[in-house]
Amino acid sequence: MSLLSEDDKKYLKELFKGMKKDVNILFFITEDKKLCMMCDDVKEILGDLKTLSDKIKVKELSFENDKDEVKKYDVRMAPSVVLLSDKDLGVKYYGIPGGYEFSSLVEDINDIGNDFISLDESVMDDVKSIDKDVHIQVFVTHTCPYCPSAVRTAHKFAMVNDKIKSDMIDANTFYEYADTYGVSAVPRVVINNKDFFEGSLPEREFLKRVLNSLK
């Protein structure tokens, strides 16, 4: 049985119908079988997404062998998914975008393809005016309904400002990495490796945390 139901496919086809720009999805797999337990599922889903819109391009890469791409896109772990328009947007998923995070992936694709990011205007202006490097890591689990909101906000910030990079990190897959950040509740948002908060926040509140971290 296919992971995406016929209903879901119909919905997605309709959603992606008007996309104007190419969305390039890079999927980095790893030889570590344990980490890549669900990589075949991801391949299937990305394969399905590709058939739903001619704007969606998928490329599979090896974390161990494709060194140039790993370096170019600063991929630190795998499995991972990197989303690009015609340029690097700084939008990544470490671990697979499954469970509730599948919605984050779909909404990210939709934003990139339509070249429209649904941020409040005043928030958008403030995000664009950030001129220092920002790295946002959002630790999640696939069973956390509050997490996609944090992931999406972080990803949207990255999409509108090249200085900002943001990663979703599945705390379950990268358990030891998450543990070094003391993650025991999700979503946990880490900004520039020094400031953090738990829980989802409205976009303006989220932005305040980012700005405070730059002070």
Binding site: L3, L4, D8, Y11, L12, L15, M38, D41, I45, I96, G98, G99, Y100, F102, S103, V106, D120, S122, T141, H142, T143, C144, P145, Y146, C147, P148, S149, A171, N172, Y175, A178, G182, V183, S184, A185, V186, R188, E198, G199, S200, P202, E203, R204, E205
Partner: protein, 321 residues
């Protein structure tokens, strides 16, 4: 692998609404379904996730019509879909302030003002935080209120579940998929969860329950190491080693953003009459946020339908000037 697909939201228009519903849990969404069908121009404002607290319940087994149970999040999405089908607009944002006393109500959402002739407050409640010596520094660092969200992070670890009601027992049962090392700490001499849930819990012979137990402190340096508990019968203190604590000790209503003149009881719950009417004209309330004895998904839905019917009646006699 499971995929949860959230099928989008529409954007609100900036007009005066017949009804603004604050909160997208079962009470607010049901009110939306009824209001939409009454052709009221309705805006529903939700802070984070539709479905309310039930969205983190893995499986609801007591909601009628679903003999095999239904996921809390899934039920929320279905209710949202149903409300939208009847024309309700859904806005995601945090309500920061309300002005409910005039004929037209103002609802402040992140620097925007939405106007309405009537309001249903269905803002719900949040889990009551554990407040004992040492607990403050471990919130989000070992103390959790959402087993569905955080459970996987405690795989094969020692955990304590605090409480003995439906939430505590359901979440404790959910945690069994990650660890067998679970201890319940309950302040009463018995559990208050539904009998069917208690039966399932008791099937797990290794599971330990401390009754009559008062939590004295949470201990540890950087991580939680133990919980100190007093046995209320013997007055003796003892320590339980643990890595994580999941807390289900009741609720706190979300009313801090509302008008000060809205009548609430000593615990912060909104006072309403049988028709979900508050003390302010054109303002109704429904669900976990109101003063009542039982807080279930179905009682929230019921409140929501009554509130919407009351709004409909109120608007029949509403004069613009």
């Amino acid at each position: 692998m499971m995929l949860n697909l959230n099928k989008g939201s529409n954007l609100p228009s900036e007009k005066t609404y017949d009804l603004i519903i604050i909160g997208g849990g079962p009470a607010g969404l049901t009110a939306g379904i009824y209001a939409g069908r009454s052709r009221l121009k309705t805006l529903l404002i939700e802070e984070l996730v539709v479905g309310g607290q039930a969205s983190t319940t893995e499986r609801l087994e007591n909601y009628p019509g679903f003999p095999d149970g239904i996921g809390g999040y899934e039920l929320g999405l279905k209710m949202e879909e149903q409300a939208k089908k009847f024309g309700v607009e859904v806005l995601f944002g945090k309500v920061e302030k309300t002005e409910l006393e005039g004929k037209f109500k103002n609802i402040y959402v992140e620097e925007k003002i939405y106007k309405s002739k009537s309001v249903i407050i269905a803002s719900g409640a949040t889990p009551r935080r554990l407040n004992v010596k040492g607990s403050e520094k471990f919130h989000g660092k070992g103390i959790s209120y959402c087993a569905t969200c955080d459970g996987a992070l405690f795989t094969d670890k020692k955990i304590i579940v605090v409480g003995g009601g439906n939430s505590a027992v359901e979440e404790g049962l959910f945690m069994l998929r990650y660890t067998k090392d679970i201890i319940f700490v309950q302040d009463l001499p018995f559990l208050t969860a539904e009998k069917i849930l208690q039966e399932r819990l008791f099937e797990n012979k290794d599971l330990k329950i401390y009754y009559n137990s008062e939590i004295i402190s949470i201990n540890g340096e950087d991580k939680i190491e133990s919980m100190s508990v007093k046995d209320k019968k013997t007055n003796k203190n003892f320590d339980i080693q643990t890595d994580g604590i999941f807390v289900y000790i009741g609720l706190v209503p979300k009313t801090d953003f509302l008008d000060k003149n809205l009548s609430i009881n000593e615990y912060g719950y909104i006072k309403v009459d049988n028709n979900m009417k508050t003390n302010l004209e054109g303002v109704f309330a429904a669900g976990d946020v109101i003063e009542k004895n039982f807080r279930q998904v179905i009682t929230a839905a019921s409140d929501g339908s009554i509130a919407a019917k009351s709004v409909e009646k109120y608007l029949e006699n509403f004069k613009e000037v």
